[in-house]
Symmetry: D2
Subunit: 253 residues, 4 copies
Amino acid sequence: MLVINGKSFGSRLMVGTGKYADFKVQKEAVAASGSEILTFSVARMHVADASQPNFLEEIDVGRYSLLPNTAGAKTAEEAVRIAKLARSSGLCDMIKVEVIGCQKTLLPDPIETLRASEELVKEGFTVLPYTSDDVLLARRLEEVGVHAVMPGASPIGSGQGIVNPLSLRLIIEQASVPVIIDAGLGSPADVVEAMELGADGVLLNTAIAGADDPVKMARAMALATEAGRLGFEAGRIAKKPYATASSPQEGLG
Amino acid sequence: MLVINGKSFGSRLMVGTGKYADFKVQKEAVAASGSEILTFSVARMHVADASQPNFLEEIDVGRYSLLPNTAGAKTAEEAVRIAKLARSSGLCDMIKVEVIGCQKTLLPDPIETLRASEELVKEGFTVLPYTSDDVLLARRLEEVGVHAVMPGASPIGSGQGIVNPLSLRLIIEQASVPVIIDAGLGSPADVVEAMELGADGVLLNTAIAGADDPVKMARAMALATEAGRLGFEAGRIAKKPYATASSPQEGLG
Amino acid sequence: MLVINGKSFGSRLMVGTGKYADFKVQKEAVAASGSEILTFSVARMHVADASQPNFLEEIDVGRYSLLPNTAGAKTAEEAVRIAKLARSSGLCDMIKVEVIGCQKTLLPDPIETLRASEELVKEGFTVLPYTSDDVLLARRLEEVGVHAVMPGASPIGSGQGIVNPLSLRLIIEQASVPVIIDAGLGSPADVVEAMELGADGVLLNTAIAGADDPVKMARAMALATEAGRLGFEAGRIAKKPYATASSPQEGLG
Amino acid sequence: MLVINGKSFGSRLMVGTGKYADFKVQKEAVAASGSEILTFSVARMHVADASQPNFLEEIDVGRYSLLPNTAGAKTAEEAVRIAKLARSSGLCDMIKVEVIGCQKTLLPDPIETLRASEELVKEGFTVLPYTSDDVLLARRLEEVGVHAVMPGASPIGSGQGIVNPLSLRLIIEQASVPVIIDAGLGSPADVVEAMELGADGVLLNTAIAGADDPVKMARAMALATEAGRLGFEAGRIAKKPYATASSPQEGLG
């Protein structure tokens, strides 16, 4: 059971709603994922313009917890402003803090992310910052009161999977709030790896929306999330150079 | 659907029956795995001695296809003799050829494995040889008529997972018979990786039997096998240095 | 030629002076490394206590550029104080900013490192901060005027080598100051990998001091640094699935 | 000192002579590599046709030991015939057995390689077979009397480096003859990695000839070979999750 700021979720998989060819595929893929938390850019909510089409109308909003993100923000101030706009819709009080520091790599700015998170905690939001895998930055974010940390596995949309399992494991070991691996996961194997590291959940968007068959991939990701969690809980065998070795892995490194 | 020598199987996960603490856990784990093919050492069948306890009595043999292996054989002649002993039980005509060339690493002997496989094909067995990830040896095995090839991911019981994805992929690409990844898989992530490479199935024993909670791990492995297969079929996104890159991975390789 | 704040160095290898069994081995290893820049904890300079033995007395200080580090500092203020103490010795105006945020992993605190670096630049030091591999933090450090950035390959003293080549490459690509890979490099292969990524230099301590034969390892590291740099300059061949493939790596990825 | 069948060599780097733009660059690169053993396809010797240009005329043959290879052979018989043709030139009694089983991947045929090696040992050659990284095949080759084994790191010309360090290490551990890592090495880092595994030497061709600057790359490879060997001899530090950990790598694996 994933618990974020006192609220429980049966699924440990969060999915994004962008990049789909059409709303129908999006809706089917979201359903196939079994996810209970949907993330999307606040800009796409069209909160200020009722005349625009709105992807949320296609989704049974009552069935999901909404996690709008502050995509587009380059500073803490912008992120805070976007978060407040989202809350004004009356649909949510969770916010994924996303302050991008580089428009090429879409990697987060550590300083602005920390500042925005601190402010949004004070404003009473449930705050989930997207962050790099910097171990001490994750700790700093916890210290200002965030309700989960969301370190990236690799750059957004890259599909490179977990580049730095060491840092993610250190973040997980030290954390007293949930750790959701976000960004860069590209396939079910990446998801299982994240969950086996002990992550509390994963967030996916491009990996599903960009697959040849998004609905089938969504189903694969749901199974992968559960397989990884069960594997983590079941306690895997140790790695050895060979079965007859009593020495640890390093014997043959 | 996995098809071996004309016979279809709904599950792509094969499991071994050795190394369990007791028959009860073994039975539950086998059930949780959803596997339809069980492998075991012929020596443990006690075909020649009805007075001995026999693990098969605990299993509803009618529900499973049995895949006895020739563990213990060091030469082709020994493997052929063991295979015939297994068939004499009337329980099976499939045989996993296992001719170990090194008692320390439990790696297979390529020459004896090829000789045994050729002979057993002639004798009318359904032949599945355990082999290294040598690409040309796998081809040679196909040329003598085996019905599947079972390359190892890493040494038996090592839990090291897939050391050489390149060779496995080349074997899969060239194969006209099913490729079952055998030996060394240690966790659900390894299973998903194998299936995403395009393997037709996986075989597990130590990874389940040696887990802290074998029954839960068996369930995890069943989900992982399905997640990996669906992921393979769904067509994953390409890897890129970052989302905005149009260049391939190697741009930042 | 490595150039830091206008000063040129023939060797791209910097070495630490701690953790040696005795001053004699230290002196020989430093000589074998061919390094021109030595790093050490300011605390070990005993600047305030002339009666204490001082490792610098064993080293021909005139032959080397000294790069004291602020080890021991947990805040920006402490780092600035230590840096000023080092400069008061009259031996150096370079400072390696090292503000550790976690005494278990010895990973750096991003916020305090940035604050200390900004202040020390203002104070006229030549500033080289030890940092994580957070790409945007490295950029922030450049923006406050540091003269080189020193991202870690993995935790100090871990010998794990380069865990995240992707982040290091992004840091190198964006940097307009030298990038020195610091911390975690364990063997000559790690050093060559760092240099092939395009790093301007590497800093080693434990990998040499903790080797079975530190003097021989120092010689290996000197050759590795040069081999890696030459390899980077010479332009390596592209990776392909096999020689006859015209498709890129991803064809068989 | 590398010793093959009683003959000693100062350099552990062997280089191929093919794929160069012209003989002048080839000659300079070979000199820069410091290699004492040159390999080349027998077909290029033009032993039967004195009227053809011959790359060997450009090389001071007296300075090098020649290691012709049987490239082009698809069977043991063809390899033996080519080897005898090479020896008939009076220039060499060493032969690199190369029996390719797949014209796409250029991977070796294990059965024909073993047969050819056995026959050539009987014929009195100094026999160095190019082989896969199949551990038991390497042992079989030793059993028929070869004087070194040359397992591939990855497919010829692929530049993928060492895909399977585990198998190479097992081959090295069991071997009583020199192990030369051949095929697939792409950069100095790959060479150092091979030498740190304990290899007795490496063989390179495409990695040098195909570099943007072959002569500089040859120099880099010479340094890398030496750095890797010294690093192996000097005894590297153990890998740990972090410096303060007394537990082995697997603590954070």
